[in-house]
């Protein structure tokens, strides 16, 4: 896809003339900056990029990109983007969505876009709240959360976007967060390089309605001991001097241990390319807060690429069937079609 290693475009080229309208301090700014900074490095032409979003604060994103874009309907972005990507496999199609947009109203479209492996890069901005409608709880809000629609605390059991995506047969699943541009760019780059549906959960701070939701995880001071950075082929370790690591017990459970206690050989090696998604699934549920623990205590949580496996993408397969039909039947001939059910002559 890359024509040249020297970027032909600059970040400015990817920035539209529209005034950005998120609240000051919103995590969405950092994500926008990461994408605009990354795009020139991907070697994509401006005119070949399409950003499709649903509705929500996050879904305003396409207006700020100087590309083709559709700000569509609440929840329906994966379906509309499927139309774009299947019609035009030559395009670089991105889906921008929120936790309410993708997981509540649009849950059905998300799982089916993942299952079909449509060639889409899906960025889910998870702020665990409905931002645009001013602060109701979302499908990722924790139990007990007090919002405008849950004055006595939420009693809805939340789910994990990553576990859901894995269950929906996603071929690429990753997590990043809005405070680390470098990590975001690395993760988006990997997602973009993946042919098929690439799903990225971005932990995003809504400083107006759910401020500090991820502070205990991604805050600069705690990050080192709380974030587990996954690297394919490497032992899953984290913390200062990589003192802690993840092991799988004989009961099949993942546990966090001191590396010194068990030895580095005993530490689980991450394998993002494994066909079987069970390790990725176990990792997606490693955090005590994943999902829905009512105690707001966080425990170390994996970030990075959980799963990245190859599977033919949908648009390419659709195109292949068209080509196969043409080579078998010859290119379509309208007159022959009208005669295909048998005809008779009068006069």
């Amino acid at each position: 896809m890359t024509d040249t290693v020297i970027p032909l475009t600059t970040k400015k080229d990817w920035t539209s003339d529209q005034e950005v309208r998120w609240c000051p301090g919103c995590g969405d700014y950092g994500i926008l900056l990461a994408v605009q900074t990354l795009m020139p490095e991907l070697g994509v032409k401006l005119e070949n990029a399409v950003f499709v979003s649903g509705i929500g604060c996050s879904s305003r994103f396409p207006y700020y990109m100087n590309t083709y874009g559709v700000h569509s309907i609440h929840g329906r972005a994966p379906a509309i983007a499927t139309g774009v990507a299947v019609a035009r496999p030559d395009l670089d199609v991105w889906v921008i969505t929120g936790d309410g947009d993708a997981l509540s109203i649009g849950g059905n479209h998300l799982i089916h876009a993942l299952r079909r492996n449509v060639n889409l890069t899906i960025l889910l901005f998870n702020n665990r709240i409905y931002g645009l409608t001013k602060g109701q709880y979302s499908p990722t809000s924790e139990i007990g959360k007090v919002t405008k629609s849950t004055p006595m605390g939420s009693i809805d059991h939340p789910f994990s976007p990553l576990a859901l995506a894995l269950g929906a047969e996603a071929s690429f699943v990753a997590r990043t967060h809005d405070l680390d541009r470098k990590h975001m760019m690395e993760t988006f780059r990997a997602a973009h390089a993946h042919r098929g549906a690439a799903f990225v959960e971005i932990l995003q701070n809504c400083n107006v309605f759910n401020d500090g939701a991820f502070d205990e995880l991604t805050g600069r001071k705690v990050r080192g001991e709380m974030m587990i950075d996954l690297h394919h082929g490497e032992p899953i370790t984290f913390g200062e001097d990589a003192h802690a690591g993840v092991v799988m017990g004989s009961d099949g459970h993942l546990r966090i241990v001191e590396v010194a206690d068990v030895g580095l050989e005993a530490i689980l090696r991450h394998d993002a390319h494994r066909a079987d998604p069970s390790l990725a699934f176990a990792l997606s549920r490693l955090s005590a807060d994943e999902p829905g623990s009512s105690t707001a205590t966080w425990s170390p949580t994996p970030f990075g690429v959980f799963r990245d496996v190859e599977r033919p993408d949908y648009g390419t397969m659709v195109g292949a069937q068209l080509a196969e039909a043409s080579s078998k039947k010859g290119p379509g001939d309208l007159r022959a079609l009208l005669q295909s059910a048998g005809t008779w002559q009068v006069g």
């Binding site: 379906a79 499927t82 139309g83 019609a87 059910a341 005809t343 009068v346």
Partner: protein
């Protein structure tokens, strides 16, 4: 053969006949009717069909609910309806007799499968005594044929087990009726030999068909066969077509004529699924079909494909149309071409999924939030579906708007002979994509304004992804006229609401004016739309032949209405609007034109019969004397 032949007189020539095949869902009546239709079509008759089957795939065997019927009207002259009352009813079991006897005309020929009139089957449908043995059928000419046992006998030598042989009894019936109406046998025999891959099944069906044919010839149950001569149809090449296949082919043609790839997003629903099936076979035309996860996604995919430069289409029936509403509103706001095809069926909700109705006009007209007008095209016959699809695509592409095309279960499944159009004479409906900048910014730089309209059509330019320089964002938020930037100001919104409405209203100048069939000085004018066409045609012809002054206007464009319609309707003292709903078009013309139009409604899951419309015309004209008017062609 020769000595038995002598007894038979030569076939009696009749001008038309309506035959109804009725049996259990598992009896293969649709196939039987379809084959009889094909043989008649190939023979050169004009014809019209009405399949009528239950919603359940396997309704309990032998019950009235499980009866599946196929009615076909064949004629030596131009006909449009499947006929009001059949003159021949083939009833394969007591349930079929119970369900369909009421339709058979007085004195009609009733052919029953004697073997099925046994106590158990009779009891299932509540017959206390065997109607074949009491005199309850004395109004009809009854012919009892032990079809099951004759089929078993005919296939026994092939080694077919009796239980399997029974499955061929519909071919026995088909053979018998083929003889009775002097249908050439070859086309059906050829069809059997290519259709059935399994040797034994093929042999068994062939034997049953031949046995039925010879049975007609050799027994004395029928006096003589009949012949319906071929119709004097305009010369040319014909095929027999259903509305759904015609729609699918029309969509393929529209893609070719527009020089655009077709993209269909669809979710299965009766009676629309056959369009998805048919288009899925058209991949060599570059047609992409996706069976979406639901109707919302199907519409979304079609819209996404339209944004990407394809002819985006979504097909559905009533409940699915409701789900697509929000996407249609977005398409209205995005001003992108898109086609939604709704095959109407009885509702509300699941309603009568396999039966016809035309009650989605209201939702097509008004079923979107806010002010979201769009054009509506209505197909009126199976073959018209082909042209309606092209016309709907033409409007969508030229005006960058979603268009709803309405068809219904009656024409979707019904068939008629179709004189194939000359492919070269079909209209060019291609449009061009925007490839250049169309505006200069105050600072002198060239730019692209996605909402800068064509002054004549008010359509906006269509620049597709991949076009250098014309990157732009569009969305559901209100846009500034011209630049397309988000704009919430009061005056701009009002302007945009009016512009969107004016664009659709302006299409009226680009459609054919409404035309009157019949008497310009008529006492009553029938205003029709959709599949009522056939019954109206027959009723208007017959009432006019009897000297009544009747006019008829049939709408293909239901929104916007033809510009001359109001004036035209006002010129008649009375206007009747027959509809398979409670008067939805009627209310529109009353509101639009302030005329005292009267609705003629039917909501039984069945099309109008021509007699019902004749009665309505007479009632409107104050005529009560109806004796003796009912012969003649339907």
């Amino acid at each position: 053969m020769t000595d038995t032949e002598e007894r038979k007189s030569a076939p009696e020539t009749i001008s038309r006949v309506v035959v109804r095949f009725a049996g259990d869902s598992g009896d293969g009546m649709q196939l039987t009717g379809d084959r009889f239709t094909s043989a008649s079509a190939m023979f050169g008759n004009d014809l019209s069909t009405l399949p009528d089957f239950p919603a359940e795939i396997r309704a309990p065997a032998g019950t009235v609910n499980g009866v599946s019927s196929f009615q076909v009207h064949i004629s030596d002259h131009d006909i449009t309806t499947p006929g009001d009352a059949p003159s021949v009813l083939v009833a394969m079991n007591p349930a079929a007799l119970k369900a369909d006897l009421g339709r058979l005309e007085q004195g009609g020929l009733l052919i029953v499968n004697r073997d099925s009139f046994v106590e158990r089957d009779l009891a299932k449908v509540g017959y206390e005594s065997n109607p074949l043995d009491d005199d309850s059928l004395s109004d009809y000419r009854v012919v009892e044929v032990p079809m099951t046992s004759l089929t078993i006998e005919a296939t026994a030598s092939l080694g077919v087990k009796p239980r399997d042989a029974e499955r061929s009894k519909n071919f026995f019936a088909l053979g018998m009726i083929s003889w009775l109406f002097s249908r050439p046998r070859e086309s059906t025999l050829d069809w059997i030999s290519t259709r059935f891959k399994d040797d034994l099944i093929r042999a068994s069906n062939t034997a049953a068909f031949n046995a039925g044919y010879h049975f007609g010839e050799t027994t004395e149950l029928f006096d003589h066969p009949f012949q319906v001569e071929s119709a004097h149809m305009p010369p040319g090449e014909y095929t027999n077509i259903t509305g759904n296949v015609a729609l699918a082919w029309g969509l393929v043609a529209a893609g070719q004529l527009a020089k655009l790839p077709v993209f269909l997003g669809s979710y299965p629903i009766t009676p629309a699924s056959d369009i998805l099936h048919e288009l899925s076979k058209s991949k060599h035309f570059g047609v992409r079909t996706v069976q979406a996860e639901d109707e919302i996604a199907a519409a979304g995919m079609a819209l996404g494909a339209a944004f990407a430069g394809h002819l985006g289409v979504t097909t559905t029936s009533g409940p699915g149309l409701a789900l697509k509403s929000e996407t249609l509103s977005l398409a209205v706001s995005l001003e992108l071409p898109m086609l939604l095809i709704d095959i109407q069926r009885g509702g509300p909700s699941t309603g009568l999924p396999t039966k016809t109705e035309a009650a989605d006009l209201n939702i097509a007209m008004y079923g979107r939030h806010s002010e979201a007008p769009l054009p509506i095209v209505a197909a009126y016959s199976p073959s018209h579906c082909f042209h309606a699809a092209i016309e709907a695509a033409r409007i969508a592409l030229k005006y960058r708007t979603p268009v709803i095309l309405l068809s219904d279960g009656y024409i979707a499944n019904g068939s008629e002979p179709w004189l194939l159009p000359d492919v070269d004479s079909l209209p060019d409906i291609s449009v061009s994509f925007q490839e250049e900048f169309n505006h200069v910014a105050p600072d002198g730089t060239d730019e692209y304004w996605p909402y800068l309209r064509d002054p004549e059509t008010l359509a906006r330019p269509w620049a597709i992804p991949g076009t250098p320089g014309l990157m732009h964002r569009i969305g559901g938020l209100e846009k500034e006229d011209g630049s397309g930037d988000i704009n919430y100001t009061p005056a701009n919104h009002e302007k945009m609401v009016h512009l969107r409405a004016a664009k659709i209203a302006g299409i009226a100048a680009d459609i054919p004016p409404a035309e009157v069939v019949g008497d310009a000085d008529a006492d009553v004018c029938i205003l029709g739309w959709g599949s009522t066409w056939a019954a109206i045609d027959a009723a208007v012809q017959r009432t006019r032949r009897r000297g009544l002054k009747v006019a008829w206007v049939h709408l293909v464009h239901v929104s916007p209405l033809p510009p001359n319609l109001g004036e035209l309707l006002r010129s008649f003292p009375k206007v009747l609007v027959p509809e398979l709903n409670l008067g939805q078009l009627c209310r529109i013309v009353r509101a639009e034109f302030l005329i005292d139009a009267q609705a003629v409604s039917k909501v039984q899951g069945l099309p109008f019969t021509s007699i019902e419309l004749e009665d309505a015309i007479e009632a409107a004209l104050g005529i009560t004397e109806t004796a003796g008017r009912r012969e003649g062609a339907a």
